[in-house]
Structures are given as structure tokens and as C-alpha cells.
Amino acid sequence: MREPAGLEFSGVGRAFTVAGRHRQVLAGIDLTVAPGEVIALLGPSGCGKSTLLRLAAGLDSPTAGAVSVDGRPVRGIEPRCAVVFQEPRLLPWRTLFRNVAYGLPRGVTGAPARQEVEHWLSVVGLDAFAQHRPRQLSGGMAQRAALARALARRPGVLLLDEPFAALDALTRLRMQDLLAEVQREAGTTVLLVTHDADEALHLADRIVLLGPSEDPAAGSSIRLVLPVPGARPRDRGDSTLAELRASLLSELGVNIHGRIQA
């Protein structure tokens, strides 16, 4: 396993020009993630959470500021990061085994490669399905395979873009537990994009709340950084977490009594 890496955003901004119109999505993002830390990026949809994650992966580049992994700036696709998308995005013509092998770092071949793939398949509980095709799997299984593919890359930073959002409630809870377990075993740094306050509270060391500024044209920035008390794994029924949840939801504009705030 590669050592967990630190991740740093300094003064990061991202603007898009769509049909001649300038649109600022992110502005002035400063965030330092320690090696081995689990950060949940929480925010309403469309606030630029996924954009921030894509900047860390090198799938996109910032229009202001810089992103660095372990002090070295991210330029192009970042080999120390691995991404799990909202959809499993497995290659349908490959078996699960070969899909997971797709994540291996360049140069890992032969017996070590096979062992690595088998290891991660068994970690996510899919060793019996190595020769299956993606279409033969349920959504949860496919997403587990996508997680194994990311882990096979031995990433310093694991980037998760709402990976459980499309799963049913029960599968989602199981996947959260699996992720917590894998993170404990691998010790990897995790940046988890989510819109689920409970998921953030269950998994993260710190919750970073992203949201629009006073001036909507200025783009989203960090509204709040909230350290989550208590060591992981956490009890989902913990009462201090319930209070945090209420305040998080009210920050997100949801009144816990069911009314939407103006």
C-alpha cells in the first residue's frame, strides 16, 4: 500500500464559460487535508462539490489557485489519486477481474497483479464473481467493484464522487460500513463528496460545507468546516451526532420540522 497522501487546495477557483457567458463555480477555496484524514464535502446540488473533486483528480484544472498532493502540484491526471464516480462505470466488455485490474498502477503485471486484484475483490466481497460481467451484477455489487478498482490503484488519496447516491437505502448503509472498514485497513486519505448529512457524519473526520456566497455570481466557497467528534466507526444513533445533523441540515436550508426555510 502506498502511504496516504496529504491534499491541499490553496485559493482555488474554477469558472466556466458557457455560450459566451462567464460562470464562476468555485472561488477562494482553501483547504488542507492531512494524510489519512477522511473529509466529507457536503453541499446542495450544483454547488461545485464534484468540480472540486475533479480538480483534485486532475480531470479538470482550476482557473485560479493551485491543488497539490503531498506538496507537489497536480498537473494533468494525478497518479496518486483514484476516483469512484456516482455510477460504477465498469467497462461492460471486461470481467470484474479485468475491470479491477484496470485500476492497477502502470507496470504492475503478472503474479503480483493477480494477487492485488484478488485481494481487493475479496475485500469488497466479490471474489466469487471475478469472472462475471458488469451487467450480471446489482448496482451495489457494481459499485463495490468500482471501489475495488480504485483501491487497486493504491491511491494516496481516494476521491469519491457521491458513490452511494444511486443505491437503495439499505445497500447504501452497507457500502458506508464497507468504506469505513476499507479506509481503516488501507489508511488512505479520503475526499468524499456527498449531499447526505448522515453519511458525512458517519464517515468523516471533518465535514466541509460548501455553498454559494452572499453574491450568487461569486461562486461557491467553504461555508463551514466542522470537526466530527468521536473516533470512527461511529454509532449511527449517537445523540451528539443528532444535534450536529440538525445544525448541518439547517445550514443546508432544511428545517428539521419539515419546512423549507426561505
Binding site: A57, L59, I77, P79, A82, V83, F85, E87, R89, L91, W93, R94, Y102, G103, P105, R106, R133, R149, R153
Partner: protein, 262 residues
């Protein structure tokens, strides 16, 4: 799993029955042909009965002439198809993968595609003489366009989610083509090859009708000149049968290739 097993167990009987249904229409057509020929509406010179066509087959086959025509036509189609398909794959690949190449080449290729097959014949005769070359080149032109069009379209429309996975996992350039773009486009490429082969036969007849002393197209035009309607019908039936046969063979290869990855 058990569900699919049951399904495959029942399948052979049903597919056999379905294939048998395909024979009904040709037999019906044969019957109608026989009735029409015997009804006196058409003279035997206009529409000889099927029996006469069969005896023409026996006559030409007995003299060994027929095999010669079939062999030379098949050879022209196969060589021409191979050339056209290779060029179509190469140029379609280039246009499908590079936006610059697409912008530069595709308007011209589209315009050339609009030229009817027969329009090429005089030019090819002028440039390449009356030997085998102009015929093979015309078949190659015919086979080229469907392959070119399907390959370029298939590569342009590969699911961008999958391409992004390839990029996120460090694949770019040729490695991205080999691991994501090409496999994703394979089904479309295979059906493009079948279309190319079918069009190769169409263009073959165009070539042989005008300038040849051998082949099924020659047999067609020669039978017109000698008033042998039975031979004319025989040539048409043979063209249909050969076209179907080569398409079936390619379709068989296609199924083998695609089920290997299912």
C-alpha cells in the same frame, strides 16, 4: 443464474423453428414464379419457369463455366472488400478520434460518398484499364463508405463516462483507444463491416456489367445479349445466394466475437 440456464435450454428448439420460418417466403416466391410462368401471361422468353433456370444451372455448371464466373466474382469482392474495409477502418478511426481530422476530412468524404457507383466506372477504366484492378477498386470504394461511416460515428459516440474512467485511470492516446474507445465501438464496427461487404457485392455488379469477360455481372449482361432469360435469372439468384452466404459467414464471426465478451 438458473433463469438464464432454463432460457438457454429452451432456446435451440425455438431458434430452429424461427429459422425454418425464414424458408417459407422463398418457397412461396418459387411457387408464385412457377404459377406465373405457366399461366401464359408472360412468354417463356420473358419469364422461364424455375425448372429451366435449374437446367441452365446444370448446363453451365456441367461445362465448368459457372464455377469460373462465381470464383472470379467472389475473388473480386473479397479482395476489394478487404482493401475497402482496411481503408475504412483507418480513415473512419482517424475521423472518429480526432476532431481536427473530422473537420478537415469529413465534408470531402461525404461529398465523394454521394457519387453513384456507376459514375466511377468510366474514370476507373480510363485510369486503370480493363483488367482486374478497376473492378477490385470499385468494390473497394463500395465497401469503404459503410465501414468508414459506422466506424467514425461509433468512435465519436463512445459513452463519455467510460472515456473519463480511462483518463482518470491514467490512459491516454493509443492506450485509451485500445482499452476504451475501440472495445466500446466494436459492435458498431462489426455491423459496419457487414454493410460494407453487402455494398461490395452491389458495386461488383456495376463493375462487371460494364467491362468484363468473366463474373456474374458479365453473365447477366451476356445473357441479355443472347436472349437467355433463364441464365439471367440464374445470375440474379446466384448473386442473392452468394451475398447472403458471405453475410452469414461474417455474421457468424460477429456473434462469436461478441458473445466471447458477454
Amino acid at each position: 443464474m438458473s433463469l438464464t440456464e432454463e432460457r438457454t435450454a429452451v432456446a435451440p428448439k425455438r431458434t430452429a423453428a424461427r429459422r425454418a420460418v425464414g424458408v417459407v417466403l422463398p418457397l412461396l416466391l418459387l411457387g408464385v414464379w412457377q404459377l406465373l410462368a405457366g399461366s401464359g401471361i408472360y412468354s417463356p422468353a420473358q419469364l422461364p419457369p424455375p425448372g429451366e433456370v435449374a437446367s441452365a444451372f446444370g448446363e453451365l455448371a456441367g461445362r465448368g463455366e459457372l464455377w469460373h464466373h462465381i470464383a472470379i466474382s467472389t475473388q473480386r469482392v473479397l479482395i476489394g472488400f478487404a482493401l475497402g474495409a482496411v481503408l475504412g477502418l483507418a480513415l473512419g478511426g482517424l475521423v472518429g478520434l480526432s476532431r481536427t481530422a473530422n473537420a478537415a476530412l469529413s465534408p470531402t468524404v461525404q461529398a465523394i460518398r454521394a457519387v453513384p457507383s456507376l459514375a466511377w466506372v468510366p474514370l476507373l477504366l480510363l485510369w486503370l484499364g480493363v483488367g482486374e484492378t478497376p473492378k477490385i477498386v470499385l468494390v473497394a470504394i463500395g465497401a469503404f463508405f459503410p465501414v468508414y461511416a459506422t466506424v467514425s460515428a461509433a468512435l465519436t459516440h463512445v459513452d463519455s463516462h467510460l472515456t473519463e474512467v480511462g483518463r482518470a485511470y491514467g490512459r491516454s492516446g493509443l492506450r485509451l483507444v485500445a482499452t476504451v474507445l475501440f472495445p466500446a465501438a466494436t459492435p458498431a464496427i462489426l455491423s459496419g463491416l457487414r454493410l460494407g461487404l453487402a455494398q461490395g457485392w452491389l458495386f461488383l455488379v456495376a463493375a462487371e456489367l460494364i467491362a468484363s469477360s468473366m463474373g456474374l455481372g458479365f453473365l447477366l449482361i451476356d445473357s441479355q445479349n443472347t436472349g437467355r432469360t433463364d441464365v439471367m435469372l440464374l445470375a440474379i439468384v446466384l448473386l442473392a445466394a452468394l451475398g447472403k452466404l458471405t453475410d452469414t459467414l461474417l455474421g457468424f464471426a460477429e456473434t462469436r466475437l461478441l458473445t466471447a465478451r458477454r
